[in-house]
Each structure stands twice: as structure tokens, then as C-alpha cells.
């Protein structure tokens, strides 16, 4: 196990091992997302309070969960890069940021669309939506700083520091936003915090969460592989791949 972990840290073994895993991850992603979409849209029951608009939850919640996880994963990669200077970790950070940002954006848009039939307005300064908005700002900061100088090693490390600082701040931000929300409480009931969700609802939700995680992992691996080809273009083994 330790050996595998060690090997994944250098570009070539990572490229080879991920090349074996990637197709099956892709198929699993496709299956779980297809099952999830059909189940969420056509089979799951409507909510007694919200009606059919509850189906938006099956997009909003997985997107928000995976977006948060991808920030944590990105910041962890940043910490690994700062401590051990593993090149793959820098690529992992760089490739996770755009995917995470797009999922955060999806969570925000679906939250707004969900808000319209539920609250009657497109936007409510609710705790979940507000902290998702802040998460989007954090992602934008990382992306903007990383692209300030393309391919520069020092900017990569600067970005890693920013991601780690953001991770330390994330709980404080979440806590303060939650607290701020209870202070101002604009609406009496919050999205997704229903007292108990029946299995007919949380099962498709679970499938969707798994599907979104797999999707993130699939795109992320694909992007890291591209980044390896880009940065290692001088090495002999990358040249032999280009021939194919």
C-alpha cells in the first residue's frame, strides 16, 4: 500500500496506473449518473410540502457536497506540495480547482432555481447558499492566482499556500455565516433540512452523490494526465505515447 502510494507520487507510474483505472471509473460514472438522473426525475416521490420541485435537491445537494470536498482535497494537495514538494500534488491542485468551481456554480444556480418555487424569490441569503457563494470566491481566488503565471513553480507554491489558508478559514467562515443566518433568519424553513427523509428519497440522493464524486474523480484524473503530458513533454516515455 505504502509502495503504491509512493509510486503514484511520480508522474510516470501515475500516468500508467491511472490509465488502467480510468475506463472503469468512466463507465461507473456513466452508470451511476444515468441511474441517478432517471431515479431522481421519474421514480422518486414528490415532497408533501414542496411538490415536484424537491427533485432539484438531487442536483443541488450532491453538487454542494462534492464542491466542498473538492476544495478540501485541493487544499490537502496544496499542503502535500508545500511539505514534500511532490510535483503531482501541484498538478492535483491545479486540476481540481476548475472542476470544483464549476460544481460550486452549479450548486448556486440550482439553489436559486429551487428557491423560486419554494421561497418565491430567486435568491435568499440563507446559510447554505451564502457559504456556497463564499466557496466560489475562494475557488476563484485560487484559479486567478494559479493562472497569474502559467507553469511557474513559485506561483504553484503560492497558490498552495492560499488554498491551505482558505482551508483553515473555511470552518470559521462556515460558522460565522451559520451564526449570522440564525441572527437574521429570513425564512422559517430551510431547504433540505427536512426532519426525516424516507428511503425513497435518500437512496436516489445517495446514488447521485456517488455519481458526482465519481464524475469529479474521472475529470480530475483525466486533467492530471493531460498536465503530466504537458509538463513531461521532454521525457522519452511521453514521446513514445505521442506516437500512438
Amino acid at each position: 500500500m505504502g509502495n503504491l502510494f509512493h509510486r503514484l507520487g511520480s508522474p510516470r507510474p501515475f500516468y500508467e496506473i491511472s490509465g488502467i483505472v480510468l475506463p472503469s471509473v468512466g463507465i461507473l460514472t456513466l452508470i451511476s449518473l444515468a441511474v441517478g438522473f432517471i431515479w431522481a426525475l421519474g421514480i422518486a416521490p414528490p415532497d408533501y410540502q414542496q411538490g415536484h420541485s424537491v427533485r432539484i435537491m438531487y442536483i443541488h445537494v450532491p453538487a454542494a457536497i462534492v464542491a466542498q470536498s473538492s476544495y478540501m482535497m485541493m487544499a490537502t494537495a496544496g499542503a502535500v506540495f508545500l511539505i514534500w514538494r511532490i510535483k503531482i500534488a501541484d498538478m492535483a491542485l491545479q486540476c481540481a480547482a476548475p472542476i470544483g468551481a464549476s460544481l460550486t456554480f452549479l450548486a448556486l444556480v440550482t439553489g436559486a432555481i429551487w428557491g423560486k418555487p419554494t421561497w418565491g424569490t430567486w435568491w435568499v441569503w440563507d446559510a447554505r447558499l451564502t457559504s456556497t457563494l463564499v466557496l466560489l470566491f475562494l475557488f476563484i481566488g485560487v484559479i486567478v492566482l494559479r493562472s497569474a503565471k502559467e507553469g511557474s513553480e513559485s506561483v504553484g507554491r503560492a497558490t498552495a499556500i492560499l488554498a491551505v489558508v482558505g482551508l483553515i478559514n473555511l470552518p470559521i467562515i462556515k460558522f460565522s455565516v451559520d451564526w449570522w443566518f440564525t441572527l437574521h433568519q429570513p425564512s422559517s424553513f430551510s431547504l433540505t433540512e427536512s426532519p426525516s427523509m424516507p428511503p425513497e428519497m435518500w437512496l436516489p440522493l445517495l446514488v447521485m452523490v456517488v455519481g458526482f464524486y465519481l464524475f469529479f474523480f474521472f475529470i480530475w484524473t483525466y486533467r492530471v494526465r493531460t498536465e503530466i503530458l504537458k509538463r513531461e513533454h521532454r521525457s522519452q516515455w511521453v514521446r513514445s505515447i505521442d506516437d500512438i
Binding site: P46, S53, R55, I56, L106, I219, Y222
Partner: protein, 58 residues
């Protein structure tokens, strides 16, 4: 069955437009991630090939 017919499925008791637009945006984001990743890969391999052919010429 939750829905009697296709019209019912599209309308969803008045919430159809919201639900469908949310799923539409989800598909757009998924598609965007796929396309941009593949386009980036293509750019990188093209660049690598160009570099190699330049080396061969010289």
C-alpha cells in the same frame, strides 16, 4: 407510477420549468467539464507533436 403520462412528467404540477432547467444546467456543467478537458488534452498533444517535428527538422 408517479407520473400518469408524458405531459404530466413535463409539467410536474407546475414545477416542471424549475426542475427541468435545474437538470439542464446540471447537464451543461457536466458537458462543459468533459469538453474543456478533452479540448485541453488535444491542445497539449498537438503542441507536443509540433515540438517533436520541429526537433526532427533541425
Amino acid at each position: 407510477m408517479i407520473f400518469e403520462n408524458l405531459t404530466d412528467f413535463g409539467w410536474m404540477g407546475g414545477h416542471g420549468p424549475y426542475v427541468w432547467s435545474a437538470y439542464g444546467v446540471a447537464l451543461l456543467i457536466i458537458g462543459y467539464n468533459l469538453i474543456s478537458a478533452v479540448a485541453h488534452r488535444r491542445r497539449v498533444t498537438e503542441m507536443n507533436q509540433k515540438r517533436r517535428s520541429q526537433e526532427c527538422d533541425s
